[in-house]
Amino acid sequence: MPISNQTDFSSMPDERGHFGRYGGIFVAETLMEPLAELRRAYEKYMQDEVFLAELDADLANYVGRPSPVYFAERLSRETGGARIYLKREDLNHTGAHKVNNTIGQALLAKRLGKTRIIAETGAGQHGVATATVAARLGLECVVYMGSVDIARQSANVYRMRMLGARVVAVESGSKTLKDALNEAMRDWVSNIDDTFYIIGTVAGPHPYPAMVRDFQTIIGREARQQIQQQTGRLPDALVACVGGGSNAIGLFYPFLEDADVAIYGVEAAGEGLETGRHAAPLCAGGSGVLHGNRTYLMQDENGQITETHSISAGLDYPGVGPEHAWLKDSGRAEYVSITDEEALEAFHTLSHKEGIIPALESSHAIAYALKLAVTMTPDQVILVNLSGRGDKDMHTVAALDGIKI
């Protein structure tokens, strides 16, 4: 019997933030009451018609929603298999799905009377999306970013500064996204009276995984209608890349009860799972506790978090949202991986065939969709979340081609 006939997916998480054995609240005592305050506010405003109307208006007029679903005909013909449709989150203001969430959380911050916004960022997309909404609402904004990521995403660093944010280089640990998250947590615990922490993915302590998911499900809710309008039915498969997993859960969630829709989350295999140099905790990690929740992690036998590797900074994270951990264990979603090399090839293929330059993160989803399509027939449909555009990756890709721009 398909799992979705037994499981009520909309009941997750429980009131303390558990998705099965994952999720929860694993933070120092100082943050327990601020998290409870945030949870109360989030529960209240997600039922508040004035708040929801303001959110909808911003998503329409500022972000540019709904984003289209596009039939990638030439790309599909390439495979000879299933028809591939793209949910164009790359067309959002600031160039990725991240803004869906930052708009929502920033409106909450305003309601809570907070004057200062902090965020962590890896590729810089969440940092840019946060700096953008902070500028618009007149809130002070500080973004923590690992110094390694600052070096490889300098264009986004400049964009954040242009928007009035202060970008703080994080020099501790591996100097990447996980360390930026640690530093943002430290800032939050030190400034809880006036500061709102906008987490960029479906990780962190409850209520973040549920709250970020709820703001991102606009992707799946729109796509579910759009794909039915265009094809007359539900898709056979969904594909999205998974770092922390916010774009993926945003697409997947409204389809969880549709047992006939196969769901694939694509992790970063980096230089290959067998090399250990990857960022695929669901495919090759184990259960543990980090950043406020229990989930799958990349860690050694002593419980120390290990360094990750991916060509895309946005997937370069040793954990994953707890709901994905639970979807994996429950069997409702399948998690697979794509190497740097495969993602790069897909990056070029989509650019050439469709005139769409995808983010390196989203290129992982495209690469898997191309593999999957070959195994399917032209009457079948794959819906891919094109979570972001590739402008930010020009330097990375050019450097790999030996070109300096």
């Binding site: 303390r16 929860g24 609240i25 694993f26 933070v27 120092a28 005592e29 100082t30 943050l31 327990m32 009451e33 601020p34 501790s172 640990g173 996980k178 360390d179 640690n182 947590m185 430290r186 615990v189 030190s190 400034n191 809880i192 009276d193 184990g286 259960s287 543990g288 506790v289 980090l290 950043h291 406020g292 229990r294 992690l297 860690q299 036998e301 002593n302 419980g303 120390q304 978090i305 290990t306």
Partner: protein, 268 residues
């Protein structure tokens, strides 16, 4: 009665406050930790808090973060730390030792194995910074039979209801975090600490330790007038860091500060 409760009972009879130093195990190298623990006891420490290094110490300031990094360079694992306690116990059967760190190393080792090994080595308490009582049931179930006290934090943000819940789950003592911040933060306001500790005492008969931001003998003396234990971490770890290149001088420098704190605390 656990070693920790016994220690507090004895100090109460003497009308003294406990001095609890924190150092990170394995910092700057694993061979120095056990001798440093003995030196701290000789300097007047009543309980030792031994930091278990973790790759992602979210609640710690830069000083203890770097201590973790130095210890991890030598591969100091939770098993190694438990081994250090066992060696310490060979020469000191009395001084309570608390392990302080983050949940993941304990989670990955497995709660039951941890409790068994730690109890056998002579560990008396466990403080996992990122484990609030709400998530602690499974761990408490294995710590209790082994006689290991679960130590929990209270903070300036803790409501009355939370103070009650935390004190219900805790044994040995409760640890009041004096500031809204991370370890090594700027100093606390003693008036606010006194008020909050008084509020905690209304909810529990457990001893109340106070830590975070205690840097000087004067700080220690002020806190000794409101709490049952003075917990000192970053101020000691900074001394370890400053002398990481000349390790012979570490113990004397740590002892110097502890002796001065002990003297100031005993003057009240």
């Amino acid at each position: 009665m656990s070693r920790i409760s016994g220690c507090f009972a004895q100090l109460e009879q003497q009308n003294r406050v406990a001095l609890i130093p924190f150092v990170t195990a394995g910092d700057p190298n694993p061979d120095l930790t056990v001798p440093l623990m003995h030196a701290m006891v000789a300097a007047g420490a009543n309980i030792i808090e031994l930091g278990v290094p973790f790759s992602d110490p979210m609640a710690d300031g830069p000083v203890i973060q770097r201590a973790s990094e130095r210890a991890l360079k030598h591969g100091t694992s939770l098993r190694d730390v438990i081994g250090m306690v066992a060696r310490f116990r060979q020469d000191d059967p009395n001084t309570p030792v608390i392990l302080m760190g983050y949940l993941n190393p304990v989670e990955v080792m497995g709660y039951e194995l941890f409790a068994e090994m730690a109890a056998e080595a002579g560990v008396d308490g466990l403080l996992t910074v990122d484990l609030p009582p709400e998530e602690a049931d499974d761990l408490l179930d294995v710590l209790h039979p082994e006689g290991i006290d679960p130590i929990f934090l209270l903070a300036p943000t803790s409501t009355e209801e939370r103070i009650r819940r935390v004190c219900d789950a805790a044994s040995g003592f409760v640890y009041y975090v004096s500031v809204k911040g991370i370890t090594g933060s700027a100093s606390f306001a003693i008036g606010e600490v006194a008020a909050k500790v008084a509020g905690i005492r209304k909810q529990t008969r457990l001893p109340v330790g106070v830590g975070f931001g205690i840097k000087t003998p004067e700080n220690a003396q002020a806190v000794a007038q409101v709490g049952d234990a003075v917990i000192v971490g970053s101020a000691l770890v900074s001394r370890v860091e400053a002398l990481a290149g000349s390790t012979d001088e570490i113990a004397p420098a740590v002892v110097e500060l502890l002796v001065a704190m002990r003297r100031a605390m005993d003057l009240i």
